[in-house]
Symmetry: C2
Subunit: 123 residues, 2 copies
């Protein structure tokens, strides 16, 4: 299980999550909020796409992505953060998109990230 209890606890803390895609002109950073990250299964995250036009174009070219999540105020212990690497795509018009639209009416699609590797950072 990649997205274990520790990761889920970090996602339970509010904060920004940074998402990196790779474009022809170089890396591109966008952000979402940790509270917007939905754990679809033990190795898959999903979050709403409002804008993210460059992100979507980059993913069509190169699905490799990175993400940073963190929690400085963890009641369970010291400050903690993780670098997640994997692959992602934008999905729309499916059940997952319909489900996220209930909470995020503005979402034109869903970024689905398949997490392949986790590294502890910060501390």
């Amino acid at each position: 299980m990649i997205l274990d209890a520790t990761i889920r606890a970090v996602l339970g803390a509010e904060g920004s999550a940074t998402f990196l895609t790779n474009g022809a002109d170089g890396p591109h950073l966008v952000a979402t909020w940790q509270s917007y990250l939905e754990v679809v299964d033990d190795e898959t995250l999903a979050f709403p796409a409002g804008g993210y036009r460059v992100t979507e174009a980059n993913l069509a070219r190169d699905p490799s992505v990175q993400m940073i999540i963190a929690d400085k105020r963890s009641p369970a212990g010291p400050a903690i953060g993780f670098r997640l690497t994997g692959a992602a795509e934008v999905q729309s018009g499916n059940a997952l998109h319909e489900r996220l639209k209930v909470k995020y009416s503005w979402c034109r699609g869903v970024v689905v990230m398949h997490v392949k590797h986790l590294e502890r950072i910060l501390g």
Copy 2:
């Protein structure tokens, strides 16, 4: 003035700040905490470097960097975030490093980021 009152207010909120450098093998993400970011002047940020070995090697090769900062709970208004782009280097053994060592005894150097451009993200 690039680092204006709005940016300083975001930095005044705790949260992770993501820092991107460009390596020969692709982009590399690390994080620090917004409370660790010191505004040196109206276009310069500094933060302690503990590990950051890959970051330092990347900066020696290519000084171009990006950073994401954000605040979801801003008492002054809605959720807000920024993408900062610029150039950076690691400095050590100077007055700035000595000053940061007082607060961060573990810092082996200081990342100094010259911010050239700001873009609003999130919202």
